[in-house]
């Protein structure tokens, strides 16, 4: 466990290394890829990336909640949330015993 944070910069470098595009183009390709996934989730319920996992949008009904700081009750509005369902392959990559 190294507990570091990987950011766009490292992913951009990996694309440059593996595909041989320029750094500018790599950064642009990463942005567009994330942007296309985001825009698909706006209009569809699911983005399925084989061997990686699926992004699923779920609708949540409004519910009573409580402000944890003040203890005051409040209605939590209906909302759509993005959940990620990792593939069995990604799960086994992470859970090495």
């Amino acid at each position: 466990m190294s507990n570091q944070t990987v950011t766009r910069a490292e992913v951009t470098d990996a694309i440059v290394r593996e595909v041989g595009v320029t750094r500018q183009e790599s950064s642009d390709l990463l942005d567009r890829t994330l942007e296309l996934i985001g825009s698909a989730l706006e209009t569809q319920d699911e983005v399925k990336l084989s061997r990686f996992g699926n992004f699923v949008v779920r609708s949540k009904a409004p519910r009573e909640g409580r402000n944890p700081k003040t203890g005051q009750e409040a209605v939590i509005a209906a909302r759509r949330v993005v959940t990620f369902r990792p593939s069995p392959m990604l799960k086994s990559l992470v859970d090495h015993k």
Partner: protein
């Protein structure tokens, strides 16, 4: 949307790149996230979200068919938290957590 459809969309915008290079781009992105998580690292993609590893303690579970009690071992699982921008996008432009 499937991975193949995502690659097809990129191919329209990047017509000067070969289809196989675009496939490689998408796979490299996903592989980088996977290998970071396998090291126990976090992956932060601003605007989109963050991937991290969450630890689940061992717990007693039940076989739903037989009702028998079984030991579910501790495990590590991949976890994704959508970023502010993505939360807003799927909610018609406003992040519900910001309210």
């Amino acid at each position: 949307m499937l991975k193949s459809e995502l690659i097809a969309k990129l191919a329209v915008e990047y017509s000067h790149l070969r289809q196989e290079d675009l496939e490689r781009v998408v796979n490299v992105i996903l592989e980088e996230i996977g290998s970071a998580l396998s090291r126990g690292d976090r992956v932060e993609l601003r605007g989109f979200g963050a991937f991290s590893v969450r630890h689940r303690d061992a717990r007693k579970g039940r076989n739903p068919r037989t009702g028998e009690s079984v030991e579910v071992p501790a495990k590590s699982v991949p976890f994704f938290k959508a970023g502010k921008e993505l939360r807003a996008r799927v909610n018609g432009g406003e992040d519900p957590e910001a309210r």
